[in-house]
């Protein structure tokens, strides 16, 4: 047993750290996602830059104590600008043996290991396939091990609230959170406020969670098992008002913002699918913004309804993940043929088939660009980080409306669930989107639904407008009139027009930004969610004086118009992707450059060092 400290104890020294990575790991029913979210909130509000990585099983409540039922939440918080949730853990909270077994390999030697010793029962050790109790052996010798009877202490702390033992035990995640908040000198107000908001209606639960959190904090304070506390100073982020945002939240807000700036109703048709469902859920809360959410009977109905709503004049969008995008492709072809504006969000996950529903991958790029029958071009964009989802979905809406085209926006599971601070833009920073609807007055005699403007966009003529009655459909259209037409030359012309329209968007998007020397030995090129790891790895290499530049792409079709020149300015090009080489294929085909892939397909994002190591090898002349 630990003895209580005397009132006159020496204050525990505080050690400053620039960046800390911690992970909460436990059973999928242990509330680890909640503890992690609250810790990252507290850190963000304190003023750190934060980046998070929730990692959970596809099963909602996998059998308790099993290896496959472990759920984790990783937080990287820093006094400087960071771009990934961190490679290695400085601290690990393991709520049971299974969590220890599956997460220990990520903890740095000498790192902090906080264990709920109450959970190390024979039964749990067996479920985690431990032959001997690791707390008794030498296996954990290289770490700073803190064995805390978290379950017992939680039950003790909340015993007067009248909760059943089972209910009381559920508060143990907040006890653990309290300990970690003390250890890293986090303010308790953010989680306390959250508890009151969440459980205010059930006072006993509110009180129990409050008591557990405070007890954990006090435990760190009074029980002198930790020799030192840590502090991470505020980061110097650009001034402004910030909030913490996950990728899926950012997509939702971005869609509402785009609809408002376009002066249109938002129609969001979707079918629940991991990891995209939160967008549907979040948008359904905002009906007072003229948001119509339609949970369709299936993926195909969702995109079909979106096509109908677009025809009738809404800013229309759908969201899905890979299996859903497969199902939607035929209808997307119809959207390309009818040239109607809409945003199609694909939050990618591990495939093929059902694959890894809760794990991340970037393996739908080729599907987005080339996945439909016929010559069926459409713009494809990607978000680089959780907060970047806001701007990119807004941009997707802008392009859709201006060019009368469906636009695919790629996110992924890592971006969707991960969170980071987001500087809230002022209203003046959000450009106005200006849909122009055809009217009989502007079209003269005889409406021509497939006449085109300078951007090759056809007019958007809404049902209800007198004099513009017209039909669109999947059959080939005659140029200008839009009548059904099977003439050979017309099909060639229309195929080329659809292609040219999409290619023309290149003049309307930013040039590809490159960080580092404008020409040289090595360019690391990436897209979407790998951007953070690429940035971190390249900045580290540049700091060592290496001749390396990096570029992360948001525009995948069409490519930025300077991309070819950029690629030709470097001797070697490395393309790290969470797939078998999809951007690599597109870039090689388009520019005939000899790029090299770095391909990871493990359902997890890149570690910084995985990219860093390959950079070092290439610069030393080691071939892949």
């Amino acid at each position: 047993m630990v003895t209580k400290t005397q009132a006159v104890a020496q204050p525990i020294p505080i050690q400053e750290m620039e960046t800390v990575t911690i992970r909460f790991a436990g059973d999928s029913g242990d509330g680890m996602q909640l503890a992690g979210t609250q810790f990252s909130n507290a850190s963000a509000i304190f003023g750190n830059d934060v980046s998070t990585f929730p990692d959970f099983p596809a099963e909602i409540r996998a059998p308790a104590g099993t290896l496959f039922g472990v759920s984790g939440y990783q937080i990287n918080f820093s006094a400087r600008d960071i771009s990934t949730p961190g490679d290695r853990l400085d601290a690990l909270v393991a709520m049971n043996p299974a969590a220890l077994k599956t997460n220990l390999q990520d903890l740095v030697k000498g790192g902090i290991l906080i264990i709920n010793s109450d959970a190390f029962t024979d039964a749990n050790l067996k479920k985690a396939h431990y032959e001997n109790d690791p707390l008794e052996g030498e296996e954990l010798d290289g770490y700073q091990l803190f064995k805390i009877p978290i379950t017992k202490l939680t039950l003790e702390a909340v015993k007067d609230t009248g909760l059943t033992n089972k209910q009381a035990e559920r508060c143990k995640n907040l006890f653990a959170l309290g300990v970690v908040c003390w250890l890293f000198d986090r303010p308790l107000d953010p989680p306390l406020n959250w508890i009151h908001q969440k459980f205010g209606k059930t006072p006993a639960v509110d009180q129990a969670n409050t008591l557990a959190l405070k007890a954990g904090y006090a435990y760190g304070d009074i029980v002198e098992i930790f020799p030192v506390r840590y502090k991470v100073q505020k980061a110097s982020l650009p001034p402004g008002t910030y909030r913490r945002l996950t990728g899926n939240e950012a997509l939702s807000l971005g869609l509402v913002a785009a609809a408002r700036r376009a002066g249109l109703k938002l129609f969001y048709g979707s079918y629940p699918i991991t990891p995209a469902s939160e967008v549907l859920q979040e948008l359904s809360r905002h009906k007072n913004f003229d948001v119509i959410t339609f949970q369709a009977e299936d993926e195909i109905a969702a995109i079909s309804a979106v096509i109908g709503a677009s025809f009738a004049g809404c800013l229309s969008a759908t969201g899905t993940s890979g299996p859903g995008l497969d199902l939607k492709q035929e209808a997307i072809g119809l959207a390309v043929m009818t040239e109607l504006p809409m945003v199609i969000i694909n939050v990618q996950r591990g495939g093929p088939s059902t694959g890894l529903p809760t794990k991340t991958e970037q393996s739908d790029l080729l599907e987005a660009v080339c996945g439909r029958h016929g010559e069926c071009p459409l713009p494809v964009l990607a978000a680089l980080s959780p907060a970047d989802c806001f701007g990119m979905v807004f941009e997707a809406a802008r392009i859709a409306i201006k060019y009368m085209t469906p636009v695919v926006l790629l996110s992924d599971g890592y971006i969707a669930n991960g969170a980071e601070p987001w500087r809230i833009p002022g209203m003046d920073e959000l450009p106005g989107l200006h849909p122009t609807f055809a009217s009989a007055g502007t079209t003269g005699d005889g409406f021509q639904p497939y006449a085109r403007d300078e951007n090759l966009a056809r007019p958007w003529a809404l049902p209800g407008t007198p004099g513009l009655e017209h039909r669109v459909g999947g059959l080939e259209k005659k140029d200008i009139s839009g009548a059904v037409c099977y003439e050979p030359e017309n099909h060639q012309l229309m195929t080329e027009l659809r292609q040219k329209k999409v290619e023309g968007i290149a003049k309307d998007i930013p040039l590809q930004e490159v960080h580092g020397p404008a020409r040289g030995k090595l360019l690391v090129l990436g897209w979407g969610g790998t951007a953070g790891a690429i940035q971190s790895a390249c900045e580290a290499a540049q700091a060592k004086g290496h001749d390396v530049a990096w570029a992360t792409m948001r525009y995948l079709n069409p490519f930025p118009r300077n991309l070819g020149d950029v690629l030709k300015s470097y001797k070697k090009i490395l393309i790290p992707e969470l797939n078998a080489g999809q951007l690599l294929t597109l870039v090689r085909a388009r520019y005939l450059v000899d790029a090299e892939g770095l391909n990871k397909m493990q359902g997890r994002p890149f570690l910084i060092r995985e990219i860093g190591d390959r950079i070092e090898q290439i610069l030393r002349g080691v071939s892949s």
Partner: protein, 341 residues
């Protein structure tokens, strides 16, 4: 949420004829349906620009090209889902779906039942010819068991769908059957469908002259009186050339009786109630098939129920009342925000 009828020019059938050449086979039942639609639309008090016709794929699905309104010729099976989007985006529009037995009941079966379940305010005309016409003669989900078609040379082994039973099973609020061979009755049914709030489903027996000619011959003029039963709300179910036959219910089984014979009086006949809250009677009627029974035509069910789009927009209004008109700046700053200076 019906379309408004303001100062209207008087429209005629001609106003709804598009400039497209109609390309159905000569003698196709679709011509009759098109003619009746063009006759009915001008009478509904809805301006032409507020009509939208949506279709999927199949012979029937060429329909939108032939009416001078807004229209979408969709992809196979998706008409109901596309039309749902149109109606939800703008409930002021009068949205019609032209579909077939294959389009609605096979490839689009899922959308069909969910549209009915949700009671979305669409007028759905299903041209049932019991065959795949556009793909040249394969059997459809309404083709009879044993029927020889191009893809069933040994006879079909599929049990067919009864379209009305499916619709009533999905608790459709308006269900009717009409005949391409009886334009007057078709016209009446279309008018009733047009005025219904919620999904109005009309099965139209339609003859395919090329691949399934005569499929509904028993309902054609010469045989109609004995083989069909014209439903009228509140009236006893009588049919036959001499109006001598009727339907009586024994337990839960209908039977054909002759009035005045075997002690059967007029009062013993089943009386039609299209407004019954439960769809039980409508379902029972949908089970009456030729040749055991006269096949009912007319409105099986017309129940008053709020449409889906009305519920959707009431919720939007409710949200505005409770949360106020959406304020974008406020939304972006919601949640826990902090300042960095």
């Amino acid at each position: 949420m019906s379309a408004s009828s303001v100062e209207l020019d008087v429209l005629t059938a001609k106003d709804f004829a598009s400039d497209q050449e109609v390309r159905w086979c000569p003698g196709c039942g679709d011509y009759s349906i098109l003619a009746q639609i063009k006759k009915v639309l001008p009478t509904l008090g809805i301006p032409k620009e507020k009509y939208v016709f949506v279709s999927g794929i199949g012979c029937s699905s060429r329909f939108p090209y032939y009416v001078e309104t807004y229209g979408i010729h969709g992809v196979h099976g998706r008409a109901c889902a596309i039309a749902t989007g149109v109606k939800l985006a703008n409930p002021e529009l009068s949205v019609w779906v032209a579909t077939g037995d294959g389009d609605a009941l096979s490839i689009g079966g899922n959308h069909f039942v969910h549209m009915l379940r949700k009671n979305i305010g669409l007028k759905v005309l299903m041209f049932n010819n019991r065959i795949y016409g556009l793909t040249k003669g394969q059997y459809s989900p309404t083709t009879e068991l044993g029927k020889r078609t191009k893809s069933t040379p040994w006879g079909s082994v599929d049990r067919p769908f009864n379209a009305l039973s499916v619709a009533i099973g999905a608790e459709a609020t308006f269900v009717a059957r009409a005949l391409d061979s009886d334009p007057k009755q078709l016209c009446e049914v279309l008018e009733r469908a047009a005025r219904h709030e919620g999904t109005a489903f009309v099965e139209i027996y339609q003859n395919c002259v090329v691949f399934n000619d005569g499929a509904f011959e028993y309902s054609h003029k010469s045989q109609r009186a004995d083989n069909t039963l014209y439903l009228e709300h509140g009236k006893p179910m009588i049919f036959g050339k001499e109006r001598e036959k009727g339907i009586r219910l024994i337990g839960t089984h209908p039977e054909v009786v002759t009035v005045g014979k075997g002690g059967v009086a007029m009062d013993d006949l089943l009386v039609h109630d299209e407004r019954a809250a439960e769809p039980t009677l409508a379902y029972l009627l949908s089970r009456m098939r030729h040749p055991e029974f006269p096949e009912p035509v007319g409105v099986f069910r017309c129940a008053e129920e709020k449409s889906y789009e009305r519920r959707v927009y009431e919720q939007v209004e409710e949200a505005k009342k409770r949360l106020g008109e959406g304020d974008l700046a406020g939304l972006l700053q919601s949640g826990e925000a902090w300042e960095i200076t």
